[in-house]
């Protein structure tokens, strides 16, 4: 039981076709299994309604006979038909039968009161071609799942920028309230930057005997360069990792929908009316809890007044590795969703609920990754703090030294 194991390598089109075929198989299997039940129950409802009509008309006739005898004049009985109230006899059914009719409308979109209880094959065809097409429609969204391999096009260029190492930390440039420089020693950012930012060390003014205001400004600029480069690199790497989160989520969602359909078909196949269905357990998108844990790393990032490097690292280390998947990194397990039920209608309901849960989980994840991931990076990189953290910039005073400060350095 479970997914077919082939979804990872499928293109978007191939996956859409695969899911469509499985959904049609499920629909047809449900139609095959349900046709006899529908026929039996439709006949049962028809008999109950006919019986009620006959009973009530007989009662009306009896009453008319009594009224005629007592009045001495003929009284015409008030005859009813099953559709007097425009509900095809629904109001004539007992409450339990009405529940059955309601359930079939909910689960199968079938009105037992309008189906002509003919032969089973005719009902089966009607179920396949009309009443149960909503089962196929239920899985339409999965046909739009993107090909996870397409993430390479966005991730690979960013990886070339940042390298594949562990997440670099974002470092504030300002001193703390005691005037102490709180910057950690910068590390090699990797990727395109490599060690380029460290080339300034030998040229720092303080170490080569250059004195004066210009030298001080020059030293400040060159000292900050490695930190700014590393912080920018961290922002790029974080975006790359968020793209990887999306890829892993899509891989998982593809498998889950595939698994729901495969397990669902098997469960329906082994489900006879009024017997327990299979014990197949469809794993709905169990990644939800794990994603929340991972994204929790972002939640604590303040967008003003500095960054919590530890929080960024704690969140993104989970997807920093090239081989570790989000699910395995977080120990995520699917939430078992047993498909057994008291009848095929209940089994079908559970299959569809599993799909709904998966789609809802996807929406939650999308929202979390967007608001707690990409949006935070946007604010860090484009907001008021960007100059301090991720953009190399000349000091405005330094820009003015081109000529006027030349004299100060002449001995």
């Amino acid at each position: 039981m479970g997914d077919c194991g082939k979804t990872d390598g499928m293109s978007k089109g191939d996956y859409a076709s695969h899911i469509h075929d499985l959904a049609v198989q499920l629909k047809d299997k449900v139609a095959e299994k349900a046709a006899q039940t529908v026929q039996t129950r439709a006949q049962s409802m028809k008999s109950e309604i006919d019986g009620q009509v006959q009973y009530q008309n007989q009662e009306a006739q009896n009453q008319a006979t009594r009224d005629s005898a007592s009045s001495g004049t003929p009284v015409t009985p008030k005859v009813i038909s099953k559709n007097d109230k425009g509900d095809n006899g629904y109001s004539l059914l007992c409450p339990d039968s009405q529940k059955v009719v309601d359930k079939y409308k909910d689960y199968y979109k079938i009105d037992l009161l309008t189906i002509e209880p003919g032969d089973v094959s005719k009902i089966e065809n009607e179920l396949k071609n009309k009443h149960l097409t909503y089962i196929v429609d239920k899985f339409d969204r999965a046909k739009n799942f993107p090909d996870p391999k397409k993430s390479d096009g966005a991730e690979d260029p960013l990886t070339s920028v940042t390298g594949t190492g562990a997440l670099a930390t974002v470092k504030p440039l300002a001193a703390d309230k005691n005037g102490v420089d709180v910057r950690p020693n910068p590390s090699s950012p990797g990727g395109l930057f490599g060690n380029a930012s460290f080339g300034f060390a030998p040229t720092m003014a303080g170490s080569i005997g250059w004195q004066g205001a210009t030298a001080t400004t020059f030293t400040d600029i060159t000292t900050n360069i490695p930190h700014v480069v590393e912080s920018y690199n961290a922002a790029v790497r974080t975006v790359r990792n968020l793209l990887e989160v999306n890829r892993q989520v899509m891989l998982r969602a593809r498998k889950d929908i595939d698994s729901i359909l495969h397990d669902g078909i098997a469960a329906v196949d082994h489900c006879d009316d009024c017997k327990q269905g299979d014990d197949s357990a469809v794993a709905t998108l169990g990644i939800v809890g794990g994603i929340a844990t991972m994204i929790g790393g972002f939640v604590s990032i303040p967008v003003t007044g500095g960054l919590s490097a530890a929080a960024v690292a704690a969140g993104m280390d989970l997807v920093a590795g090239s081989t570790q998947t989000v699910a395995s990194a977080m120990g995520v397990k699917g939430s078992p969703n047993p498909l057994s039920g008291s009848g095929i209608d209940e089994v079908v309901q559970k299959i569809l609920k599993a799909a709904t849960d998966t789609f809802n989980a996807l929406d939650d994840i999308y929202n979390t990754v967007a608001t707690q991931g990409f949006d935070k990076i946007d604010k860090i990189t484009a907001g008021a703090n960007r100059v301090d953290y991720v953009v190399l910039h000349p000091d405005p005073n330094f820009m003015g030294v081109t000529n006027k400060n030349a004299d100060e350095v002449i001995t």
Binding site: K150, N246, G373, D378, V390, V401, A406
Partner: protein
């Protein structure tokens, strides 16, 4: 040399800044490529807001890299202008700088790695023309402004 300013070191810093600006140019190319590839990464329809958030973040990275690129280039130019101003204040500095830069570049040319190519850790400095009539003893580094995302 009649100045306390280590002009070759300032010139080397200018060269470093310009080289870093070129690295940022390469970064911009990659970030732009990533931006262009996001179209097929997210689920269409339900993932549109996520896609927009991703594009916003990548555009912010792109803009930040473009600003760094341009600022690095501008600062490298400022440093060269500073060197020229010092030399202009005392022409002797220009002549001594020319001599020192020649020696540095000869050393850089000799320092080759095992594959026979120049060792990039000792960059060549721009040649000095101590007799430039306009006072541009050291040529200013040239570069084009960085490409930026639409709307920025």
């Amino acid at each position: 040399m009649t100045t306390a300013v280590p002009l070759p070191a300032v010139l080397r810093a200018s060269t470093h800044l310009h080289q870093m600006g070129q690295i940022y140019g390469d970064v911009i190319t990659q970030v732009k490529t990533a931006h262009d590839a996001t179209g097929e990464v997210f689920e269409s329809g339900h993932g549109d807001a996520l896609k927009a958030a991703c594009e916003g973040a990548i555009n912010a990275l792109w803009s930040a890299a473009a600003d760094s690129h341009d600022n690095l280039f501008n600062t490298s130019v400022v440093l060269v202008r500073y060197v020229n101003a010092v030399c202009d204040a005392d022409h002797t500095n220009a002549k001594e700088l020319d001599t020192q830069v020649d020696a540095i570049n000869q050393a850089a040319g000799r320092e080759e790695s095992s594959n026979g190519l120049p060792d990039g850790t000792v960059p060549r400095l721009p040649d000095v023309n101590p007799d430039d009539p306009d006072g541009n003893y050291v040529p200013e580094p040239s570069d084009d402004p960085a490409e930026r995302p639409e709307g920025s």
